[in-house]
Symmetry: C2
Subunit: 231 residues, 2 copies
DNA sequence: CGAAAAACTGACCATTGGTCAGATCCGGGA
DNA sequence: TCCCGGATCTGACCAATGGTCAGTTTTTCG
């Protein structure tokens, strides 16, 4: 259908849907999730504020579509972090990479991340959102399943909850501006501790964790890629 | 009402400040943090919406005062959980109790808890809020310090970040309605895992942790036995 | 070509937070 | 006693927001 150059253009404005979503992204990036208003989005897209209704229904619909893209990007970030691992990386290392991906996404897109968990602003019944959220969760779930194979359900669920809670809590506190003293190094250490707590007692092969509580100076594994310090 | 038995009343309304804060608490409890509006609070207190200004300045001031009380109650809840421990409880058990207190407060007051971390709605420069927040943090900080004495700074900070992130993430996801499948048992298990990860190897005296991942020796089979997407 | 369908506009409404002049009440002086 | 200063509160205004609706414009299709 339609030989219109952009594909979806009807009025003199093409792809309004995309333009509105981009406007949301801009506003969120510039001024935080609270600054997003239907009218400002429409203003930036050059249309009247009523023009969004045919595409998204209401503000909640617009924001739901926006955070749905966020879920997809979160899942992609986690998968990319795993894919960047050397081929011989074991399941624990892949679980750690998944956690780094989660935290990394939240750090790179703090406002977007915050909006993704504002359940009052999004429609959690939306099928597209639900699918995207479940897919993102599946990345973590499968990484955990691979890291602790054959674990009994209760223990496995506890570890899944721990891992998700830890990376989510870390990301949330950081995005919200609390605990500003936390550096990327701390993030790395937290992920290491989580993986260690999930896959076994203390010393796993790869996940070089911060040393155990003995004051004696144990060999602290040289961490891989956490070059940048301080924040 | 009441001819101001106490000393703070001037107009025909006594303690307006307290009445407004109580109104906030009611609204938050009944309809969530987003439903709080200056006008509705004033309506419930029986005054015009401008009456709040002399007491709180603006809406942000009112909410800041409200969440300041929340920080105090959070700290009190954590301390109470520790105090309920038998006298012979060790530092690890006290750390676990602190974590349970954090999660318990969030579960008992989900909307209040959510509001406490809406940094866009509160004034984080407010001295009273700052003091209350630091006091609440100190509870966790001191419990951790007692649990891992003599640990080097980096390792200690990583464990502090892990503990705070885990209990905060768990509480947030729960208050936000995500991960609804998580039971109190899961909360207990998560706290146990966190404490174990912080204080050392695996088995702490009191914190009954879920069993470690040693199900059976040689098994390398299906790892990708897909998990369920958490709704 | 013409009609139906969809996108979009502009106006209207209720509600919100903030501000302001002025009314009201309190306490402390003359 | 009378009256004034200061704080409290009211009612009115304002700008902005989200939602709705009738109507206009554009596209698509019969």
């Amino acid at each position: 259908m339609a030989v219109t150059p952009k594909g979806a253009g009807r009025h003199h404005h093409g792809a309004l849907r995309r333009a509105l979503l981009d406007a949301v992204a801009d506003i969120v990036r510039e001024a935080g999730p609270e600054a997003v208003s239907l009218r400002e989005c429409a203003r930036r897209a050059g249309v009247s504020h009523s023009a969004a209704a045919p595409h998204f229904g209401d503000k909640r619909g617009l924001l739901t579509a926006f955070v749905t893209e966020g879920e997809a990007r979160l899942a992609a970030t986690m998968r990319a972090e795993v894919a960047a691992l050397p081929a011989e990386a074991d399941a624990a290392a892949r679980l750690a990479a998944t956690g780094r991906g989660y935290i990394g996404f939240a750090q790179a897109n703090p406002a977007h991340f915050r909006l993704m968990f504002r359940t009052d602003l999004i429609d959690r019944g939306d099928p597209a959102w639900r699918a995207a959220a479940e897919d993102a969760f599946a990345v973590l779930d499968q990484a955990m399943a691979a890291a602790v194979p054959g674990m009994d359900p209760r223990a496995r669920r506890a570890r899944l909850a721990l891992a998700w809670s830890a990376v989510h809590g870390f990301s949330t506190l950081r995005a919200e501006g609390v605990g500003a003293l936390w550096s990327p190094q701390v993030a790395e250490d937290v992920v290491g501790l989580v993986v260690a707590a999930c896959v076994g007692g203390s010393g796993i092969g790869r996940a070089s964790v911060v040393p155990p509580p003995r004051p004696s100076p144990a060999k602290r594994g040289r961490e891989s890629r956490s070059g940048r310090g301080g924040a």
